[in-house]
Symmetry: C2
Subunit: 323 residues, 2 copies
Amino acid sequence: MSTLTIPDPLPTPEEDSQKLNKAFKGWGTDEKSIIEILGHRTAAQRREIRDAYARLFNQTLVDSLRSELSGDFGRAVVLWALDPAERDAILAHEVLKKKGYRHMCVIVEIACASPPDHLISVRQAYSSLFNSSLEEDIIDYSTGHHSLTQLLVRLVSSYRYDGMYLNEDLVDSDADDLYNAIKMGQQEPPIGLINILSTRSIHHLKASFHRYQQKANGKSIYEDIEGNKNYDHELKSIMKCVVCCIASPEKHFVEVVRNSIVGLGTDEDSLTRAIVTRAEIDLKNIKEEYKIRYKTTVNADVIGDTSGDYKNFLLTLVGSAEP
Amino acid sequence: MSTLTIPDPLPTPEEDSQKLNKAFKGWGTDEKSIIEILGHRTAAQRREIRDAYARLFNQTLVDSLRSELSGDFGRAVVLWALDPAERDAILAHEVLKKKGYRHMCVIVEIACASPPDHLISVRQAYSSLFNSSLEEDIIDYSTGHHSLTQLLVRLVSSYRYDGMYLNEDLVDSDADDLYNAIKMGQQEPPIGLINILSTRSIHHLKASFHRYQQKANGKSIYEDIEGNKNYDHELKSIMKCVVCCIASPEKHFVEVVRNSIVGLGTDEDSLTRAIVTRAEIDLKNIKEEYKIRYKTTVNADVIGDTSGDYKNFLLTLVGSAEP
């Protein structure tokens, strides 16, 4: 569920655009107004504002934001102002410029913690923004970890059935296959395991993971991946990310937020990504889960670790401290 | 280019629907009117007729056609009346009920001889019609030919970049990789070859195939696959289909039409598929290519091998004998 609050009555997209343009003008930028407007509009409303702004000022809103704002605040607002599919395409492209598979979890989030039609829109946006397909860029990124590359390519290429129909026999045999594949002690995940994780519906996979746990005397597939001594660190971390994004995206994002806060310094990119991408999806559930798990609130941790406009913007998206 | 001819002035979708409904009523079905109307309407116009028909008669046009028509004629008209993405989803589903990989070329056509956005629409239609993803059904179909299954899954999962940007270095290195992979003498196509064929843009692949031929002293990739003694018959036939659908779909469909005609009996399903699915895409080019290659026309071969309403309907879609 979304954490956004929308004003009533709602200004027209033209009024919002005028106010935003005014906020960009003059001696300093009026960050407060930008937060006040964009932080309280849904994706559909932001699209209407983008359209109106381009009509009125002959420039895109995102370009204006990019030139007026900077730092973590600027990055967060720009990501928020973008069309969600374009935003995810840009996040995926950024990851493919970084070194190290550990960043690839961002791509897993897009592939496994989003509805199938959103993933398709991301691939379409990626292709028109970057003149290549997301999957070929993943392959070209490959630095030798072939099975990991294949897993990622197959996950981003999926268009899973999105309904509730379930074939119980298939759930059962997939649970067996997953169990055998993970227990088999191979260094690489066999193709059968990749096939299952990348083509079955989320509803089906959740049922298979549940069935897995029954077969494994209470041990979850997540724990078995964690305990698998044959998988290297990178494979293990991506496989855990896959399973978590499929089984329970909110639990995955609880970890993303928490890990961005704890330790030395704040990982602003991860914190921004989690809050911006999930605000309209399940941030309410993430906040509840966070409170149960860490006995503190997302709000309190954001306040403790960030400051200024960046803090104010994140808190606007996060909404009230009491769920 | 399309072979369709559209009347001017064009009747409204409501008028067409009324006439179609009248054609279904009374003692016999008026096949001539059905051909006269539907055979002269574009996909967009047929969609409007479907919408109007459903509004006016509280029944879908496709259901009416299915209950009124039968045989090869009925099958052809129903396929023609369907939304093109839904039609291809149904064709793919039919193939996955048949025995033998030789039928899989239908799936390759959908994956490699259609624009990326059409392939996505087919997958969406497949998922809503059949409660599963196209790719999982291909995997579940697998009867042991794993590399062929992987190739097919990867091809249907592709969302290729559809523009004209070309990276010449990549074209060159892909040509090398294709050459080495096919010349290497393995029984299975290596994953690198599958990666290239399933993720690169059609424009890029055409350039790579051209470069391949230069490297191979004039031998085409098609000929090298044909001459590869390590590939079994099924793999060879599907790989040739892939390369042909990418390099030159019209040449592929020239063969589909010709093979459906020559020999004992007519393969009506293939003939129907080629004409119905390509009429609005490249049937004009297919006809020209056919004439050059076989010194006869598609029209003459259709007249020679089919009869009655089926013949009349196909000829309506094929258009004039002189291109």
